[in-house]
């Protein structure tokens, strides 16, 4: 492919170059002067490139002892970048020196070790209670300091600041925003029936720093973030019947928005945050997708089919809703135009089971659960081309959700009897298991970028 492209461009150029050379020769002969030969420059066209991990060295940061509490910023940054699969970090034990400022970086050494980039930094305590992180990103190949940035934090926010450092580096090198300083929500279940405890948990994107925002002896299901990252909608059976609630994450303030007869389930915030798409059964028990206006409580029916229509997911432009339906037999994913609810389009075909859709932030891909030879796995389909790639390798993987930068998908997998949180890069190359000690975990959802 590259060769073809090269040829296509080089052809006409070569011809022109030959003419130029002819003229130069005539001039040479006419004047008998020692003119430098007019060599044609070599013309190269690169259209592909590779997606290899970028070799980078995150040098341990200078410490502000004891104010920083021994927190290792560089270790968090290194873990973040490696988890993205786009970076390959140099091991600390291989580092000959540990400079903390750009001026002390011996470029030749780091280049010889195979790095493209080096990150150095230092934590300082300019005043009581304040901790500053200064870091420099150096391109070792070109020998330039790409960027420097200061992050202001305190002892309690040092971890979040470290994630911001990761975002900064990720953005500068890859040209897209990093999603390390974002949050995830998920449901944890402790104990066995009949005495179970359900918890709704919010944690950092790397699984650290988990906080329980709701606890119940009855099931909690289907958490969904508001676009401003301040609220979570979810289903709780705390009154023995299903109800859809919205809760402010920071304060715990909450509101019951739907407790209608029958099933109230699967809430999803519209991209503008004014509406919820949700599944209601009504008294008849037929599940359909509805839209609930959060300010007026007005309900609009979106699907009307005797089959099960559930698990709605908004397109990022807010113009359509994707959902799961078994109207053709097995569960498949469909798309409905909000302006013309009669217009429904089937999206998935390949497998007999495709369910629980979630759109990528750019709206170009859709992640869902697919059945592959008796196993339930996470797949991503390119909406334009229809190409499907199966990303996970588990037996019972469920609930995919895109990171807000679209680079990684989080889902719940299973280790034996226990559900765990896992991530996979959208190219399927890197899977990671998030640390969790809250028992069985389910239904992870990745929050949007904080505003």
């Amino acid at each position: 492919m590259n060769n073809l492209m090269t040829d296509r461009v080089a052809g006409p150029l070569r011809q022109r170059a030959r003419q130029v050379r002819g003229c130069a020769l005539l001039a040479l002969a006419a004047f008998g002067l020692g003119v430098a030969p007019a060599h044609a420059e070599l013309q190269i066209l690169i259209t592909k490139g590779v997606t290899d991990p970028i070799p980078i060295a995150i040098v341990p940061f200078g410490r502000a002892v004891p104010a920083d509490g021994g927190f290792d910023v560089a270790a968090v940054v290194q873990h973040d970048l490696e988890s993205s699969a786009r970076f390959r970090a140099m091991q600390r034990r291989d580092m000959l020196t540990t400079p903390t400022s750009a001026n002390d970086v011996q470029a030749a050494d780091w280049k010889a070790a195979g790095n493209d980039y080096v990150v150095v930094g230092r934590v300082t305590a300019p005043s009581a209670g304040e901790l500053d992180i200064d870091c420099d990103l150096i391109n070792i190949q070109t020998g330039t300091r790409v960027a420097s940035q200061k992050f202001i934090a305190n002892a309690g926010s040092l971890r979040n600041a470290a994630h911001l450092v990761s975002d900064f580096i990720y953005g500068k090198v890859l040209g897209v925003r990093g999603a390390f300083a974002t949050r995830i929500a998920y449901v944890a279940v402790q104990g066995k029936p009949p005495s179970q405890r359900f918890q709704l948990i919010v944690a950092d994107a790397d699984g650290e720093n988990p906080k329980v925002i709701l606890e119940s002896s009855q099931p909690i299901m289907s958490p969904a973030w508001s676009p401003d990252e301040q609220w979570l909608a979810y289903v709780s059976f705390e009154n023995r019947l299903s109800g859809v609630y919205v809760q402010k994450v920071r304060t715990g303030e909450r509101q019951l928005v739907s407790a209608r007869v029958g099933v109230n389930g699967a809430p999803a915030y519209s991209p503008d945050g004014t509406r919820l798409a949700l599944t209601l059964s009504g008294a008849g028990g037929n599940l359909d997708v509805w839209l609930l206006d959060l300010s007026t409580q007005g309900l609009t029916r979106l699907t009307d089919d005797p089959a099960v229509d559930t698990e709605p997911a908004w397109s990022p432009d807010g113009k359509s809703v994707y959902f799961t339906s078994d109207r053709a037999g097995g569960p498949q994913i469909y798309k409905v135009d909000i302006a013309q609810p009669k217009r429904v389009e089937r999206i998935t075909f390949g497998s007999g089971y495709n369910a629980r859709p979630r759109l990528s932030p750019d709206g170009k891909k859709i992640a869902f659960v697919t059945r592959e030879g008796g196993n339930y796995r996470i797949a991503v389909q390119d909406l334009a081309s229809g190409t499907v790639s199966v990303l996970s390798h588990g037996a019972l993987d469920e609930s995919p959700s895109f990171a807000p930068n679209g680079a990684v998908v989080i889902y719940a997998g299973r280790d034996g009897e226990v559900g765990t949180l896992q991530t996979v890069s959208v190219d399927g190359l890197v899977t990671q298991r998030l640390k969790s000690d809250q028992g069985e975990v389910r239904e992870p959802v990745w929050g949007p970028f904080p505003r």
Binding site: N2, N3, M5, T6, D7, V9, A10, G11, R14, Q15, A17, R18, Q19, R21, G22, L25, L26, L28, A29, A30, G32, G34, P37, H39, A40, E41, L42, Q43, I44, L45, I46, T47, K48, G49, V50, T51, D52, P53, I54, D116, N139, Q141, T142, V146, A147, G171, K172, V173, L174, G175, V176, A407
Partner: protein, 286 residues
């Protein structure tokens, strides 16, 4: 790739023109060489006299010593009567005696003085003579040295002139040789530029840079970045200039990094294909 007929005709015409031009250039060069327009040999012995100071004139001789004439004794006085004359004679004799003695003494003193003066004058003359001789010797030596220096400078100049002439001739010969080999290599290059070797070389470099380009997420279709790469024989990349790039900072960093990561570039199978200047365009197709 097959060339079009018009291309082939153009090539043939150009080739004829080129060969005619070559022959013309060689003939012209040969004619030029034959013409005695080389630097005139008279120039070779052009010289200026460096001896700018004439030998110092000999000092004028000192005046010859002029001895003073001896003093004459006073004439004897005239005699009177006998006795008186006797007495007077005696007195006169006595006086004459005295006068003679006195005159003799004076004469002696004068002689002594004269002798001393002569002695002094002789000494002075001898001294002056010695100084004169010394000055003459020095002047002669100086003149000799200057003559030698002038001769040497002239010899040097001649040698230089010859060397210059030789160098000019060599340069002219070299230029002609260069021209010939240049024309030959141009023809060779002309041949290889459209050969499979060139395509292979381009493919090798393309593959190498493509492999070195870790494409950032922001490098999407529509992004276009042009680099000028400078390589030295051996393929080491010594210089990278971003000529134009509509991508973001990450794209810019990635293409510049790719260029350096690709170093050293592969060598062409035909050394004539080596070019220190390479233009690389990064244009993602998706």
């Amino acid at each position: 790739m097959s060339e079009r007929r018009s291309d082939r005709i153009l090539s043939i015409v150009l080739s004829i023109l080129i060969h005619a031009a070559i022959v013309g250039a060689l003939l012209w060069g040969w004619w030029q060489y034959r013409q005695p327009t080389v630097t005139a040999p008279s120039l070779a012995i052009e010289a200026t006299v460096v001896r700018d100071a004439p030998p110092q004139a000999a000092p004028s001789a000192p005046p010859a010593p002029n001895p003073a004439p001896p003093e004459n004794p006073p004439p004897p006085p005239p005699a009177h009567d006998e006795h008186a004359e006797q007495q007077a004679r005696e007195e006169r004799a006595h006086a004459e005696q005295e006068a003679r003695q006195k005159a003799q003494e004076q004469e002696r003193a004068a002689q002594e003085k004269r002798a001393a003066e002569e002695q002094a004058e002789r000494a002075a003359a001898e001294k002056a003579q010695a100084a004169r001789a010394e000055a003459e010797r020095a002047a002669a030596a100086k003149a000799d040295a200057e003559r030698a220096a002038a001769a040497k400078a002239e010899a040097d100049r001649k040698a230089q002139q010859l060397a210059q002439q030789r160098k000019l001739e060599q340069e002219r010969a070299q230029r002609e040789a260069d021209l010939r080999s240049q024309l030959a290599s141009e023809e060779h290059l002309n041949a290889v530029q459209s050969s499979p070797a060139k395509a292979e070389y381009l493919a090798l470099i393309t593959a190498r840079i493509n492999r070195a380009w870790i494409r950032p997420s922001s490098a999407r279709a529509g992004v276009k970045c042009s680099l000028h790469i400078t390589q030295i024989p051996g393929g080491e990349i010594t210089h990278v200039v971003v000529a134009g790039c509509n991508g973001d900072e990450a794209v810019r960093q990635s293409v510049e990094t790719a260029a350096y990561r690709a170093s050293p570039l592969p060598a062409p199978s035909d050394p004539a294909l080596f070019d220190p200047n390479i233009d690389v365009t990064f244009a993602p197709d998706e």
